[in-house]
Amino acid sequence: MRPISRVMIAMAALALLALLFVPIWRIDLAAPQYPEGLYMQIWADHFSGDVEKINGLNHYIGMAHIKDDMFAEFTYLPKVIVVLSALGLFAALWRRRIFLVGGLVALSLFSLWALWRMWDWGYKYGHELDPRAAIKVEDMAYQPPLIGHKQLLNFDAWSTPDTGGWVLFAVIALLCGVYFLEVRDLKAKLKAKRSLASTQP
């Protein structure tokens, strides 16, 4: 492994720890009567922002009350992040490409899993409505967008990565870069080996 690869892997691993301290995702809501907008941030272990205001609005249409203990993920997500980070540091110290590949795969799976969890939660949150809700709009579900914009009744909803989300993407991009470098080195090495072998009498 190149030294630069090791440095980059170590940095990626350390950067991953930032996910413990910054919000990962955010949902913004806007409506005429909320000129200042409403927002909600999703951290590794809790929600923040106008969660109670959003709950207050959503109860009219029978959406569940958002609480931290709704999510088992909040209890183990920080641990998963620490383990992934440790895996990265391990790869950097041990100089084994297999750790790099493992870390990258694990991280990608983690990201996909996190996105899937978010979608799944959003689906349930938007579809499983209290049948006793005051306002029922025919054929209407309130699943928030996974990423991007969606109109939900009178609200414009935006779902976007927050700082942590961008860090996660950057970490993946960084590791992909390292992977690319290392694969190129590996290929060159193999080629050199082959040509060495072919020149031998």
Binding site: A15, I135, V137
Partner: protein, 664 residues
């Protein structure tokens, strides 16, 4: 090694840079929309100094209990007419004469929550004579005279609780109605002392038809109609073909009595109640119905004695629809209907289910047909329920969220307010098609088009009365001003012209051309016609008189002195009554009267009027009194003294005004 250092150094710097960059972009924060006001909006609402607005706008004061008067299109506030709440500024509810206006069977009630102004009508059109308004908390209806802009009469509504679906008028103001929001048990003490859980069995609804005397404005209850226990919300009279009918929205057909926001929102449809009031009137005349207990006060302002007069009634005539087929029908209406509005043609009734995602429009013709052909889906509390499909003209699909109220223009269009989606939606009544929508800032409740609930809307504007103000004005701490917004409806598109702040919480409002009101204005009261028992029609009639512990002062005001202005011989333990007559006979020359330590308020006495302030001195000494309304260049000289002596004092009672000649 050097290369490694270089690589790691640059990559750390790079990573740090990326991190900082990302931190500065925490998500792509959406920008919020601000109302676009076009360039010429200002000229459309500008009323040149010294000129008058085109419309009067009578706006409910909400929890102020009063009625506010604005000009349109300027949005300028002219008056807050004291109606249900005391007003220390004018002495309303504090002067001895006005106290009677606020008397009820519960005693003197100094406050109420006023929701719906309704202008009196002639031939289905506002005539500028009176403005009715309801007191919600201690059920009452008031009539405000638009000649004096004063409360002319107030009637208490018995067998009612939460007087909300009131005070809407019939086409010639034969009646104004009062529907009870809360159903309650009625009758004697024993029938009212029941468990709350026995709602279905014991709680009853009730709508009252109040007759204002066309000459005097004195009000009396013509009859009440008993109904099953529900919550009545709003109402409107039929007109044209539907003249003779009245429509009331009601919710809580679940008959819930607790956690209403959930329990009263379960059924897909509640009702609009259709009442054949012509039939009710006839039944009442024929002596049908029962006299039931219902003690209530009817207070009336006598402009000759400048005093309130109270009549106390012990009972009311009640009609039970179960005994009189054809009197009352229910029409199913989705979902917890709030507004209940009849279009100018009188052909259509619009129900606004505040939790519904559509607006149902009922056809009066179809209602009559359904009644004639007996198209019923059952009954509710013994009252026939018409089939929804049979009485429906059609539904406006997906108009917005949380429809509350509808007003109309003269061109067949309706304007519905949507609280949840915070907008006004314009739609065509005949075609049921949405034509335009504009956002309101924020969360509109009622709305008003001049003449918009009558046979002949003047149109031109729609005014939004909003429930939330937030950032629209300079902030004033946690409690903000209330707000209204003026939109032009002259073009195809509604156009925001103006925000203006309002007092109290504005609920309903009505507007009419100023020309219908201006000719009625009373400029002052004629002193010759003053029949107040303590009037002094000139300074020669001023005096003081002791009646036991009471000291009565016949006092006059004219620019710029009181007569008398020196009073001696008042003793501790006395109650002093200052009967102040304003001798001025010109427009806009009120005099105020205030005395130190008065535990009530001031008096603001209009020209030609007599008002009385009761004052109980608490210490020995000299007490100042003065005029509070700047009346002339010598206003600051308009003052006097009262000498108060100990209880057993032998100072003789005397009152005088000393002229310059006498002093020299």
């Amino acid at each position: 090694m050097n290369r490694t250092l270089l690589y790691s150094g640059t990559s750390v710097a790079l990573a740090a840079g990326v991190f900082l960059l990302l931190n500065s972009l925490p998500g792509c924060k959406p920008t919020t929309t601000k109302a676009a006001v076009t360039g010429d909006a200002a000229t459309k609402v500008y009323v040149k100094p010294g000129t008058h607005d085109e419309f009067y706008n009578f706006v409910s004061g909400g929890f102020s209990g009063q009625l506010a008067v604005y000009g349109l299109p300027s949005g300028r506030l002219f008056r807050e007419i004291p109606v249900f709440s005391v007003d220390p500024e004018s002495g309303y509810g504090y002067s001895e004469e006005t106290k009677g206006m606020l008397m009820t069977t519960y005693g003197f009630i100094p406050w109420d929550d006023s929701h719906h102004p309704e202008l009196s009508q002639s031939s289905g059109v506002p005539d500028g004579k009176w403005c009715f308004i309801n007191g919600n908390n201690t059920p009452r209806i008031a009539l405000v005279d638009l000649g004096t802009f004063r409360t002319k009469s107030i009637i208490e509504i018995p067998n009612s609780a939460g007087n909300h679906s009131s005070p809407f008028t019939t086409g010639n103001s034969e009646y104004v109605v009062a529907g009870t929001r809360f159903s309650v048990p009625m009758g004697d003490d024993a029938s009212r002392d029941v468990p709350i859980k026995s709602y279905k069995e014991n709680f009853k609804g009730n709508v009252s038809f109040i007759h204002p005397d066309p000459e005097t404005g004195r009000m009396s209850i013509a009859f009440q109609i008993a109904t099953p226990g529900v919550n009545f919300d709003l109402s409107h009279a039929g007109k044209g073909p539907s003249e003779g009918w009245f429509f009331f929205s009601c919710y809580n057909t679940e008959q819930a009595y607790s956690l209403m926001e959930v329990n009263a929102s379960q059924r897909d449809k509640d009702f609009i109640m259709a009442v054949n009031w012509k039939l009710a009137e006839q039944l009442a005349k024929e002596g049908k119905g029962n006299k039931v207990p219902g003690k209530h006060y009817s207070n009336w302002w006598n402009e000759e004695t400048h005093s309130a007069e109270t009549t106390v009634y012990e009972d009311v005539l009640q009609l039970d629809p179960k005994d009189h087929p054809g009197l009352v029908y229910f029409m199913p209406c989705p979902k917890s209907p709030h507004g209940c509005d009849v279009d100018p043609t009188g052909k259509y009734i619009v129900g606004s289910g505040k939790l519904a995602a559509l607006i149902p429009v009922f056809s009066f013709e179809k209602i009559q047909k359904a009644i004639a052909t007996n198209e019923m889906e059952g009954d509710f509390g013994g009252i026939p329920v018409l089939k929804y499909e049979s009485v429906l003209h059609g539904e406006v699909k997906k108009p917005g969220l949380g429809p509350l109220h509808t007003e109309f223009d003269a061109n067949g269009n309706a304007y519905t307010s949507f609280f949840v989606s915070s907008e006004i939606v314009k739609w065509n009544v005949e075609k049921l098609e949405v034509m335009d929508r504009v956002p309101t800032y924020y969360s509109i409740g009622h709305l008003c088009v001049p003449g918009g609930d009558s046979k002949q809307p003047w149109g031109k504007y729609v005014i939004a009365y909003n429930k939330i103000t937030k950032d629209r004005y300079l902030p004033t701490g946690p409690e903000l001003t209330q707000s209204a917004q003026l939109y032009s409806i002259e073009g195809d598109k509604m156009e925001l012209l103006l925000d203006f702040p309002t007092t109290g919480e504005p609920h309903y409002a009505q507007a009419l051309p100023a020309e219908l009101v201006k000719p009625r204005e009373v400029k002052f009261f004629k002193i010759d016609e003053n029949k107040h028992p303590f009037v002094a029609k000139g300074e020669k009639e001023t005096k003081v008189e002791r009646r036991g512990k009471e000291v009565h002062v016949w006092m006059t005001t004219i620019r710029s002195h009181f007569a008398p202005d020196n009073i001696e011989g008042v003793k501790l333990g006395d109650e002093v009554y200052f009967h102040v007559t304003n001798l001025e006979q010109d427009w806009d020359v009120p005099h105020g009267f205030a005395i130190k330590g008065a535990a009530n308020a001031e008096l603001l006495v209009m020209p030609g009027e007599t008002q009385t302030l009761k004052w109980i001195p608490t210490r020995v000494g000299i007490w100042p009194m003065y005029c509070t309304d700047f009346c002339s260049a010598l206003h600051q000289e308009m003052q006097g003294y009262v000498r108060v002596s100990p209880a057993g004092s032998s100072v003789p009672l005397d009152a005088y005004t000393v002229s310059v000649d006498a002093e020299m």
